[in-house]
Amino acid sequence: GESVGLHLPTLSVQEGDNSIINCAYSNSASDYFIWYKQESGKGPQFIIDIRSNMDKRQGQRVTVLLNKTVKHLSLQIAATQPGDSAVYFCAENEGLGDSSYKLIFGSGTRLLVRP
């Protein structure tokens, strides 16, 4: 069946260091991926997305890498700041597929930034 999972439930990094959050997906029909950030008591907040015809996309301080061969997605945060502390979810979508309405979320990784 479909599943999106994360390798590490909690990641602790020193302020100023780079963070890498990983995600594995199993639905080969998925061709659109989003990273969301969720702070305590709030809804998921869009960070960055990527389509399957790309293997890398950069935003402000964030980079998403997609490896379709091994069905792996990662989020890199440069110069991690205390405000980056949150739970990060990857989500997948079939893009143009029959189930393209829904996002399938992974189980989340908590990022803790040490001062």
């Binding site: 659109y32 989003i34 969301y36 008591g41 709030k42 809804g43 998921p44 907040q45 869009f46 997305d49 389509r51 979810f89 989500a91 979508n93 893009g95 143009l96 189930s99 393209s100 309405y101 829904k102 996002l103 399938i104 979320f105 992974g106 189980s107 989340g108």
Partner: protein
């Protein structure tokens, strides 16, 4: 910046009671969604809605659930007879189109069923 809003922020109800969760999507968006998140678990898709009808629904979205867009701005989720296991955060989301499109999420309604 436009945002999705949800009311109430917290709803407490007795088992067996009906609840209605309300959402105001972003005004120019055409696709609307409900998701839920049981405490400590992943966000789960419930239903999507477009052109005044359900586009897709998950196995969770059984006959106890219904959605409605009663006017041009609100989007509601009704749970007809709540169960203890319905306790969760319920998130509304909206998007401008269906494909390759970011879904914007509201802050959520925490539903507690006693």
């Amino acid at each position: 910046e436009p945002e999705v809003t949800q009311t109430p922020s917290h709803q407490v109800t007795q088992m067996g009671q009906e609840v209605i969760l309300r959402c105001v999507p972003i005004s120019n968006h055409l696709y609307f969604y409900w998701y839920r998140q049981i405490l400590g678990q992943k966000v789960e898709f419930l239903v999507s809605f477009y052109n005044n009808e359900i586009s897709e629904k998950s196995e969770i979205f059984d006959d106890q659930f219904s959605v409605e867009r009663p006017d041009g701005s609100n989007f509601t989720l009704k749970i007809r007879s709540t169960k203890l296991e319905d306790s969760a955060m319920y998130f509304c989301a909206s998007s401008t189109n269906r494909f390759y499109n970011e879904q914007f999420f509201g802050p959520g309604t925490r539903l507690t069923v006693l």
